[in-house]
């Protein structure tokens, strides 16, 4: 692969990570969904670019799956849920933007420090994209913690999952079957989450988690 190929791959990986940061500070629900869709599209581009540069045609299939499922189906469904449930308002986060940015940056630093020495012998592309993918995963987790709304937690989960696929695409020789199964499990997870949204909504008139927390059996 040419140097340019590397650079573009890294650029795209970086873009995925950048969208993760955007997810961290985005306060509006529709904005969150759009950013998530953008991240998924970028991921698809990463996969396609990998397929092109490394002559691995099965990665085109991965890219197609990501575009169809995560960039179109899920965001559209989330938008529909939003309108059905009527939650357009801003979502309050448990952490201020500044501190979540700092936390995110330190997580990225941590994953770079972790991955680069471990994979010293591997190819350069694999090493750095692995570090970026790990950062995306950690940022998705961070987002799940810092948000108080069930929908945003699901978006955090999906973006975490994006990080996993990013890692899978970066590693050579990842079989298509695995990717397919990941995609399907995400679909299933999404359906279950959707059902839960409606159930929660029906019970508590809100998707904010604190309402749920008061309903968990005996406290001391």
């Amino acid at each position: 692969m040419s140097t340019l190929g590397y650079d573009i791959a890294h650029l795209l990986d970086g873009a995925v990570l950048l969208f993760s940061f955007m997810l961290l500070y985005q306060r509006r629900m529709s904005g969150l969904i759009s950013v998530f869709a953008l991240q998924s599209v970028t991921l698809a581009v990463v996969a396609a670019w990998g397929a092109y540069t490394r002559h691995a045609p099965h990665l085109y299939a991965s890219a197609a799956i990501v575009v169809v499922v995560k960039a179109v189906l899920i965001p559209v469904a989330l938008h529909k849920i939003m309108t059905r449930l009527g939650i357009h308002r801003t979502v309050d986060a448990a952490m201020s933007i500044g501190s979540s940015m700092i936390a995110g940056a330190s997580l990225v630093a941590l994953s770079i420090m972790l991955v680069l020495p471990v994979t010293f012998a591997s190819a350069a592309l694999t090493r750095e994209s692995l570090a970026l993918a790990l950062s995306t995963v950690l940022l998705g987790l961070l987002m799940m913690i810092t948000r108080r709304n069930a929908v945003t937690q699901v978006i955090g989960f999906m973006s975490l999952e994006n990080g996993l696929i990013l890692a899978a695409v970066g590693v050579e020789g990842m079989p298509l079957v695995v990717e397919m199964s990941i995609a399907f499990s995400v679909m299933v997870a999404f359906i279950i989450f959707g059902i839960f949204f409606f159930q929660i909504r029906e019970r508590f008139d809100s998707l904010d988690l604190p309402y749920l927390e008061s309903f968990r059996g005996e406290r001391r």
Partner: protein, 671 residues
């Protein structure tokens, strides 16, 4: 030999299955008879095997490897002198307890709760001395602990029994945890848990110290070493009497076996202040045990406290052995170890006999409370004379066996000044004083126990109408009494097979082994102190005969006068000494601090004709000082970790995330 032992142990498990088929209801039934007769036979076979091994005198260990157990560790078994000696204790007393159970079980409410566990208990205690790797040792140990727990719980309808069982279970769990850790340290990182491999390892000072502390906690709590003894006077008496006899007489000895095996065989290290520590623990145990025994009202609890005292004496012997060994005086160390092991044997003989006697009293009167007994010597002549033999033995009066072992122990103590450390030079005489004090108090305790139970006049209608007990209950008591007398008169019977055992552990024979002859014991030759039970007995017998002859022929006149007329005009039984009044001087002396005793006199108002009431409240301060803080700490920890059960989803996710990040950071830092 090992195959014989293993076969009988396997058959014991078969008997347990038979016992499990026992129908609930009163009395032994067919299954009960099969279980007890079978157990007795199997234990007798094992006891004979152990005797044969001991008298063969080769002392070489016989090993056997069984391909069962966890994948990384085949089961190693081995029979050496030490194991054989303890197997003799286990099975000799076990056979007697099974015989006793034939009679005792007829009076039991729910024998079906005892029958399945009784053979398992004995099988566990048989396997512990045979185990030659840590894994099988611990499995056998747990068989012993858990089956005895079930046996304690057999009369589960009484509230105190359930509490005792709970305390016992907790202490057993703590003890086993400590033992697991001890074996972990012994095996080290190499992870070979076979005793042979452990013996080859040399431990660092820190490791060896940790092993000693853990074994003293693990096996010491089972034996009843203070301050971990508090469960013992609760649990031992709560079981049926033949099981109490086994727990007090035998299970504590198995714990002693564990201490000896680890400290003198597997670890092999000796540091003088460990000996000092064990001496101190032994003195404290002996003192606390006997003082509580003196003031106790419940006959079986009294016997259990006395077990604590005797374990203290054994610990003094082991501590001395450790101290002598650290000073390189292995011959004297052998003497101390010999005395400790001999005392273990003696205690198992007379303590089980005394528990059998207490069980007989319980069966025929329904009471364990001393204040409701009395005058039983006329109703139960055999039980009371056997109980008297036990009382004389345990009070260390010559010429019985208790005296022989405590005399040997004293001989070892008198050699204490030969050690070089000043701490030991000063501590050993103190230990000797504690030993003598404990023995004297034990004498007072058993004068009280025997006198209040069997002499005087009955203090309750049940005691007045007591019946003699089954022959199956009397035979084992008589056999054990004969054994006590025999070993007392001819201590060489026990000491000759023990000498090679001690030789195997210490590397040299105990001091002046040739000084132990069939007639005379003179272990420390240069001091020329010697003892002969037989000669003493004959002297006493001759003098008694002479006294009788003089009475008969010289002052042959018989006067008949009212008995005790000046001090005892009222024939009501309540004018006699009571158990409480007999113990009062000692309770007053040690009262407030050691017993937390409070005496209250409730006087009626002037003119009121109601009787005045005198009441005593006692509580063991060890609960407040030692156990309550531990319980509080555990409670506090669980309370504070309980909050983790009620976190929000986000907080749970946050916890996981935090741990993940922490671990990743750890990887980065370590790399």
């Amino acid at each position: 030999m090992l195959t014989t032992l293993l076969t009988t142990i396997a058959l014991l498990f078969v008997l347990a299955a038979v016992g499990a088929t026992a129908r609930p209801g009163h009395g032994n039934g067919f299954a009960g008879t099969v279980v007890y007769v079978g157990t007795m036979g199997l234990c007798a076979v094992n006891a004979v095997t152990a005797v044969l091994f001991l008298t063969a005198g080769t002392g070489d260990a016989v090993g056997l490897v069984l391909p069962i157990g966890p994948p990384w560790q085949a089961t190693h078994l081995s029979l050496d002198g030490l194991s054989a000696f303890f197997l003799l204790i286990v099975n000799g007393v076990g056979a007697m307890a099974a015989l006793y159970g034939i009679g005792y079980g007829r009076h039991e409410e729910e024998p079906a709760r005892v029958l399945p566990f009784f053979p398992v208990f004995l099988a566990g205690m048989n396997l512990v001395p045979l185990a030659a790797d840590a894994f099988s040792f611990l499995v056998a140990w747990e068989f012993m602990s858990l089956s005895s727990w079930f046996l304690v719980l057999s009369s589960h309808r009484r509230h105190e029994t359930r509490r005792a069982a709970l305390v016992y279970l907790v202490m057993a769990a703590i003890g086993t945890a400590a033992l697991i850790a001890a074996f972990g340290v012994l095996a080290g990182v190499s992870g070979d848990y076979g005793f042979a491999a452990i013996r080859l390892r040399s431990l660092g000072p820190l490791e060896a110290g940790a092993v000693m502390a853990l074994v003293l906690i693990g096996a010491g709590s089972k034996a009843g070493v203070a301050p971990l003894h508090a469960w013992l006077p609760l649990a031992h008496p709560a079981a049926p009497s033949h099981v109490s006899a086994l727990m007090s007489g035998v299970m504590t000895k198995v714990a002693v076996y564990a201490i000896v095996r680890v400290l003198f065989d597997l670890s092999g290290e000796a540091v003088w202040w460990w000996g000092l520590l064990m001496l101190g623990l032994g003195c404290a145990t002996a003192g606390v045990g006997v003082l509580y025994a003196v003031v106790e009202r419940d006959l079986k609890t009294l016997l259990a406290y006395s077990t604590v005292e005797n374990i203290g004496l054994i610990m003094i012997g082991l501590g001395l052995a450790m101290a002598f060994k650290a000073n390189g005086l292995t011959a004297l160390a052998g003497l101390a170890l010999l005395a400790a092991l001999f005392h273990a044997l003696n205690h198992s003989l007379y303590k089980s006999m005394l528990f059998f006697g207490a069980g007989a009293v319980l069966v025929s009167t329904g009471h364990r409370d001393l204040e409701r007994l009395g005058g039983l010597i006329r109703k139960m002549p055999i039980t009371s004379s056997v109980f008297l033999v036990g009382c004389i033995s345990i009070s260390a009066l010559p010429p019985l066996n208790g005296f022989a072992s405590e005399w040997l122990l004293l001989q070892a103590i008198l050699s204490g000044p030969q050690m070089s450390q000043w701490g030991l030079k000063l501590a050993v005489p103190v230990a000797g004083a504690a030993l003598v004090l404990a023995t004297a108090l034990a004498g007072a305790c058993f004068v009280r126990a025997f006198g209040i139970t069997f002499l005087g006049r009955p203090r309750s209608p049940e005691a007045a109408s007591a019946l003699r007990v089954d022959v199956a209950m009397r035979i084992p008591m008589v056999i054990l009494a004969v054994a006590c007398v025999l070993v007392g008169l001819l201590p060489v019977l026990a000491l000759t097979p023990l000498t090679p055992v001690v030789h195997g552990l210490m590397g040299t024979s105990p001091v002046a082994a040739e000084g132990i002859t069939w007639l005379w014991l003179s272990p420390v030759a240069e001091r020329a102190s010697s003892y002969s039970g037989l000669v003493l007995f004959l002297t006493v017998a001759v003098m008694a005969m002479m006294t009788l002859l003089i009475k008969r022929f010289v002052s042959g006149r018989i006067r008949r006068t009212p008995a005790w007329d000046c001090g005892f005009p009222d024939p009501s039984p309540s004018t006699q000494y009571t158990a409480a009044s007999f113990a009062q001087p000692i309770r007053r002396m040690f009262g407030t601090h050691l017993f937390g005793a409070r005496e209250m006199v409730d006087m009626p108002d002037p003119g009121d004709s109601a009787p005045a009431r005198f009441s005593v409240e006692m509580k063991d301060p060890i609960w407040a000082w030692f156990y309550r803080p531990v319980v509080k700490f555990i409670g506090w920890t669980t309370e504070s970790t309980n909050a983790f059960q009620f976190l929000t989803i986000r907080e749970y996710l946050g916890l996981m995330f935090g741990v993940l990040v922490l671990l990743l950071m750890l990887v980065v830092v370590i790399r």
